[in-house]
């Protein structure tokens, strides 16, 4: 986050001239990486499509407009035609509209679940990092137990606890699964901050402990946690799709979701693979976009990989 930190003073005079804000230089370094550019473009396109989905979707994703063409034996899935470029699903609803509106659902679930995991994990990590000793041990053992269970399995279990699954139970389940990663990262970050000179200097000036934590430690500790957040978005999206695929998401298929569409396409996969391929492709591309962007962000901001 800061510019290269010189050791001794020969550079003192030279560094006096600020070479632009460090954030602009970080951005320049990022834009030189093809992986970041590809990831960022995918992410941006996806976000724009998701946000503007109700405007862009040619039809109501829940309306069975082509139901009259559906024949159980002869033609269960209406093909592409005028106004329906990707055709319809077995219920006669426009596939393109469903994919677009599904993007919105995916974004909401991904962002909220990651945000929940980040906040929960950061709070736990903060507790562990600030109150060392017993609190630290307790929190980190709980986190270890959570990590011992495979994440998807735990997400299933949590989602299955709710009597009536909907997108909120999905978000809660995925958020809880994300907590351990953030908690560990935040704890480590806070422990590093505890030993830094500027925290010691703040304490030497009589700054109150709460101010030391929230003004001097947390802002400096959040960097890696936020970068992890961009990476976790991809995981959240994949997990959400997996849970919906297995029927643990929103059961109301009038509001589509990619994983749920994928699940519904199973029985038609042999004759009409496009029903599964479109949502699957969307999931893969979006997850790839977030991963590429997050990974290059992490590498660029990591002082160890900086040249």
């Amino acid at each position: 986050m800061t510019s290269a930190r010189g050791g001794d003073a020969p550079a003192a005079g030279a560094r006096a001239v600020p070479a632009g804000r460090s954030s602009t230089r970080t951005l320049q370094r990022l834009l030189r990486q093809p992986a970041f550019v590809v990831g960022a473009v995918i992410t941006c396109v996806f976000v724009v499509l998701a946000v503007a989905a109700p405007l862009l979707a040619p039809h109501d994703p829940g309306a069975p407009l082509l139901l009259d063409q559906v024949r159980a034996q002869a033609n269960p899935v209406p093909g592409p035609q005028d106004g329906f470029p990707l055709g319809a699903d077995p219920a006669g609803r426009d596939l393109l509209s469903r994919l677009l509106v599904g993007a919105r659902q995916t974004l909401i679930v991904g962002v909220l679940a990651t945000l929940g995991g980040l906040l929960g994990g950061a709070a736990l990590g903060l507790l562990a990092g600030v109150f060392a000793g017993k609190t630290d041990t307790l929190v980190m053992r709980v986190v270890d137990v959570m990590l011992a269970i495979p994440s998807l399995l735990m997400a299933f279990s949590i989602a299955a606890l709710f009597a009536r699954p909907n997108e909120w139970t999905l978000i809660v389940a995925i958020a809880i699964v994300q907590i351990p990663v953030f908690a560990r990262l935040m704890r480590g970050s806070m422990l590093v901050q505890r030993g830094t000179d500027h925290v010691l200097a703040a304490r030497a000036l009589g700054v109150r402990p709460s101010a030391v934590v929230f003004r001097h430690m947390v802002p400096n500790a959040m960097g890696p946690v936020i970068v992890q957040g961009t990476l976790s978005l991809a995981v959240s999206i994949l997990d959400a799709a997996a849970l919906s695929f297995l029927g643990l998401g929103n059961p109301d298929d009038a509001s589509p979701e990619w994983g749920q569409m994928l699940g519904g396409a199973q029985q038609y996969f042999n004759s009409y693979p496009h029903l599964a391929i479109y949502p699957a492709l969307c999931i893969i591309v979006v997850a790839l976009g977030f991963t590429l962007a997050g990974e290059s962000l992490r590498e660029t901001l990591d002082p160890r990989t900086r040249r």
């Binding site: 986050m1 800061t2 510019s3 930190r5 010189g6 050791g7 001794d8 003073a9 020969p10 550079a11 003192a12 005079g13 560094r15 006096a16 600020p18 460090s22 060392a132 000793g133 830094t196 000179d197 500027h198 010691l200 200097a201 703040a202 304490r203 030497a204 000036l205 009589g206 700054v207 109150r208 101010a211 003004r215 001097h216 802002p219 400096n220």
Partner: protein, 349 residues
């Protein structure tokens, strides 16, 4: 034991602002021998006095200052003794009471000016933070005072620098900001822990001159922790030489530079390069601090000392010497100037 010849303004506590008595710091770790980093260190600081704590790395000089400030981690650390500041023993104060004094009555600046500043907070806000903490002032007023302080420490265009971040300014300027922060609430004692070590030589001279002007000029007391004898020569009234966690020699700076009595001090002075020629090859003290033996078993410096005898390895030396020049050595160098150097090296500003 403040030395004569320094200003002795009256104050509660008999002319002492800070009186460190038998301060010991022991680090304990499960499964390891307890390590005594500071061993019964005593020294006084009079109002307006500049006291030097000198020694090589690992001799306990920084730990001493951190103990006085109450900044050592609670766990695994045993601090014994007293540090009486203005009539109160700092070591017995509650955390909250000590916090109220830190930054207001006594302040500290550290070695590395970049890492001692919060990288994500503008400089002006950092100076203002300590003002708002100790003086009940509003934000705008604190920022005004911060700008005033930045101006006093010689930062050009303080209004603009206020809004800049630590990485945007030079090393010397960062140290100036730290000095401004430390002095913002007009403390009566400043502890400077190697404030010039991370700086370029020319900047060092500027920072020392600034400290001299702001601290010494305003009657603030200063504890100067350093391994640089040039800094000591230019700034300190009295000097404590530490070795292996104990003070081995204490004297007025002129006495010390004219006639070091402890072989360690003599070796330190001989290893300073001199501009007036003389020796071509610098003197060095053989071995390292890690080679020492515990004080309980003899003189910690004995393994590295040319004058060491069997007595030194058996018996820990006690204080000797006259009132103004005390030392802890069985075989002191002769009081006359037979030491490897002959005079103070006045190269500091």
């Amino acid at each position: 034991m403040t030395n004569p010849g320094t200003h002795t303004a009256p104050s509660p506590g008999g002319g002492k602002l800070l009186s460190v008595e038998d301060l010991s710091v022991t680090f304990t770790r499960p499964g390891a021998e307890p390590f005594t980093a500071v061993d019964r260190v005593s020294f006084d600081v009079a109002p307006g006095e500049v006291v030097g704590l000198v020694g090589e790395s690992g001799c306990g000089k920084s730990v001493t200052s951190l103990a006085v400030m109450g900044l050592l981690p609670r766990r695994g650390t045993q601090v014994r003794g007293r540090a009486v500041f203005d009539g109160t023993d700092l070591l017995t104060l509650s955390d909250g009471a000590l916090r109220d004094r830190r930054g207001a009555d006594l302040a500290m600046i550290f070695q590395d000016p970049l890492s001692s500043l919060n990288p994500v907070v503008p400089l002006g806000t950092q100076v203002a933070e300590v003002i708002r903490r100790h003086r009940r002032t509003g934000r705008a007023q604190a920022l005004r005072r911060a700008q005033e302080m930045l101006e006093r420490v010689g930062i050009p265009d303080p209004g603009r620098r206020m809004r800049e971040y630590p990485h945007q300014v030079s090393g010397g300027m960062r140290q100036r900001v730290l000095i401004a922060t430390a002095l913002a609430c007009e403390p009566r004692l400043l502890i400077a822990d190697e404030p010039t070590t991370a700086l370029d030589v020319t900047i060092q001279a500027q920072i020392l001159a600034l400290l001299k002007e702001l601290v010494v000029g305003s009657g603030t007391s200063l504890i100067m922790i350093t391994h640089d004898l040039g800094v000591v020569a230019g700034l300190c009234d009295s000097v404590n030489v530490l070795y292996g966690g104990r003070i081995v020699e204490r004297a007025d700076r002129y006495d010390l530079f004219d006639g070091p009595r402890h072989p360690y001090t003599g070796g330190l002075l001989a290893s300073v390069p001199r501009l007036d020629g003389g020796q071509r090859r610098l003197h060095s003290i053989p071995g390292s601090v890690a080679d020492n033996i515990p004080w309980s078993q003899g003189c910690a410096f004995a393994p590295r000392c040319a004058a060491a005898t069997g007595l030194c390895r058996r018996e820990s030396p006690v204080w000797s010497g006259e009132a103004g020049h005390r030392l802890r050595c069985h075989h002191p160098l002769p009081a006359a100037t037979a030491a490897p150097t002959t005079g103070p090296k006045e190269q500091a500003p």
